[in-house]
């Protein structure tokens, strides 16, 4: 029986090592290709290791860094501001719903809950935000539609408030003369740091990675987030390759290290997340487990 233990653990290690390699294999190709010379890629294709080492792609991106830096700035602003507002709105609504003395409590809870069951979909949402609110080509288009708050997080937080914050705490704050806002900001929120961290982390990842809002609401390159820039580069480099199809492939490829730049810009896009990952990995795992237990 101990032998079966050891076999099982050995097999597990082998399978998991293979899976781990499979998970990071694409990233390694990405990284190595971004450091390969254009000529070696055109000859041998993208590879696991650079055949001819070169910084040309990064030099090119450095020379054209103003757009990239701007896009980074947009992404950082959208992520920080969006996550902050999202946490405030979510927790305020969830707190109200968690209070047993709230009038029409069931109505409001259903109002939030129904949004999880049924939605209007893309077309009416797009028309609401472009025709009624005129959000097209504004920074708010990257923050507000779809992402700012969702019913699931509200209900998740409500469960936390109801189970983890004893009613006497609220009661005694009121006795001491604290108003609702004071109670909420100086007593409830500090007690809710775990759930705020969990939802905040997931929101941060969602905002950082979002390209959809940019795709449908933003056409002005000045407002491109890093994801939208990546999106455009993917299409545009393709466009470039298509255009040179007719004749002068060589001219296009000499002027512009398009195949390695493509990988280098992707590396720049994932770098912050991958660098920060070891630090938030633990919380992310916890957050996923919490979210799945009960909404």
């Amino acid at each position: 029986m101990y032998k079966s233990d050891r076999i099982m653990s050995g097999v597990s290690h082998i399978v998991l090592i293979i899976l781990s390699i499979g998970s990071i294999f694409p990233f390694i190709i990405l990284l190595s290709s971004s450091f390969s010379s254009e000529a070696s890629i055109l000859k041998d294709g993208y590879n696991l290791f650079p055949k001819e080492f070169s910084f040309a792609a990064y030099e090119y991106l450095l020379d054209n860094s103003s757009q990239i830096l701007r896009a980074y700035g947009i992404t950082v602003f959208v992520t920080v501001f969006g996550t902050f507002v999202s946490l405030i709105m979510t927790s305020l609504l969830a707190y109200g719903l968690s209070r047993r003395d709230l009038p029409y409590r069931n109505f409001f809870a259903f109002f939030v809950f129904f949004t999880l069951l049924f939605n209007g979909g893309l077309v009416p949402t797009y028309l609401v935000y472009t025709e009624i609110f005129d959000l097209k080509n504004t920074i708010w288009a990257l923050i507000v539609p779809g992402l700012l708050m969702n019913g699931f997080n509200v209900l998740l937080m409500r469960v936390f408030f109801m189970t983890s914050i004893p009613e006497p705490v609220i009661e005694s704050a009121r006795m001491d003369g604290a108003g609702e806002f004071r109670t909420f900001f100086s007593i409830i929120l500090p007690l809710s740091l775990p759930i705020l961290a969990t939802i905040g982390l997931l929101q941060t990842i969602i905002y950082w990675n979002d390209w959809f809002n940019g795709l449908i609401y933003v056409t002005d390159p000045q407002l491109f987030s890093i994801q939208n820039l990546l999106n455009r580069m993917l299409a545009d480099i393709q466009f470039l390759a298509n255009n040179s199809f007719g004749g002068n492939i060589s001219v296009a490829s000499i002027e512009f290290p398009s195949t390695s730049v493509k990988m280098a810009i992707a590396v720049i896009g994932i770098l912050p997340i991958v660098v920060a990952y070891p630090f938030f990995q633990k919380y992310l795992v916890k957050g996923i487990a919490v979210g799945s237990v009960k909404g």
């Binding site: 079966s4 099982m8 597990s12 993208y46 405030i88 949004t115 077309v123 993917l234 795992v285």
Partner: protein, 325 residues
């Protein structure tokens, strides 16, 4: 007990009524701050979720920007007649459902297997390392996945055409124009990206199983595989059923990024990569066919809604605690 009814004096009633009104007023004063707190969130849901629900009515209109959306003519079910008279309706419904069925089945089975293996790793550091690495793809956006896809599938310089296929003695494949390969590619990419997330959930469920069961089984001489079969799997069955039913509720929806970004919106691939979400997007943003697009969207919303209710009904029958409502 003797029945004693005391007829309250008129003045008493008045006093009580006054008190009640006063109480209501002070109550209103008390709950007003709560309503103010909730207002931003409620207004957001009204705009972001409820307004579009009413906007679904445009599926019954012939949208004409010159007349405005409200002024456009009502055309009844004409948009739907168009939609369902084309081959598109069948193709996108088929693709959406088939992909989801394969995703649900494959991802669940593999994620459970991997979670069980992760649980067998006693070295905490290694366990956390494996888990983090498998979860890494979950963190990146579909745009980046599209770039990774190019690294593999690019016709001229992709690693598949340049290195792997020649090693196997096979000919180059024009990946972005041959639709028949895409079911495999999309299933693989979806697995690669979603495996870590499901693993975390199943591993949490496995860790929650009482250790005493395993100790007793070991004493009785049960092998590892028998323990997995008779203890682990039955214990996490409620989680498996719940997650599967929740996914079935979403079977009419798909990950837009996976089907739009990764195949690079290539027209030659629509037969195997077009799903309801990409169809609606293309109708709205690229073809300007809002009526048809809205009709497909309404079709998705309604069938999706019915499926959510149905799957919740099934979860509820299985276990009340796990039901969404």
């Amino acid at each position: 007990m003797a029945e004693v009814t005391v007829k309250p004096l008129e003045t008493d009633i008045r006093a009580a009524a006054k008190k009640k009104i006063g109480a209501r007023r002070s109550k209103l004063k008390m709950v007003m701050p709560l309503f103010i707190m909730m207002a931003p969130g409620l207004i957001y849901l009204l705009i972001n979720n409820y307004l579009p629900m009413f906007g679904l009515a445009i599926a019954f209109k012939d949208i004409n920007y010159a007349k405005g959306i409200l002024g456009s003519d009502w055309v009844g079910f004409k948009n739907f007649e168009y939609l369902f008279s084309t081959k598109d309706a069948f193709v996108i419904t088929r693709n959406t459902i088939l992909y989801n069925v394969v995703f649900i089945f494959l991802n669940t089975v593999i994620a459970i297997a991997v979670a069980i293996m992760l649980n067998e790793i006693k070295n905490k550091l290694m366990k956390s390392f494996y888990q983090s690495v498998v979860l890494l793809p979950f963190l990146i956006s579909m745009v980046i996945v599209a770039y990774l896809g190019v690294a593999f599938l690019s016709v001229d310089v992709g690693i598949l055409n340049k290195t792997i296929l020649p090693l196997l003695g096979l000919d180059e494949i024009s990946w972005y124009s041959e639709a028949k390969h895409w079911p495999f590619i999309l299933v693989l990419i979806n697995l690669w990206k979603g495996l870590g997330f499901l693993c975390v959930i199943y591993l949490a469920a496995i860790i929650g199983i009482d250790k005493e069961y395993y100790e007793a089984a070991t004493l009785d001489g049960a092998s590892k595989l028998q323990q997995i079969k008779y203890i682990t799997i039955p214990s996490i069955m409620p989680v498996i059923i719940m997650l599967t039913l929740l996914s079935i509720g979403k079977i009419f929806y798909s990950d837009f990024g996976l089907f739009y970004q990764v195949p690079m919106n290539s027209g030659a691939l629509y037969d195997t990569t077009s799903v309801i979400d990409t169809y609606v997007y293309r109708g709205l943003m690229q073809l300007g066919d809002i009526g048809m697009s809205a009709a497909a969207g309404l079709y998705q919303s309604i069938v999706g809604f019915i499926l959510v209710l149905l799957s919740n009904y099934l979860v509820r029958r299985k276990s009340k605690d796990n039901a969404l409502f």
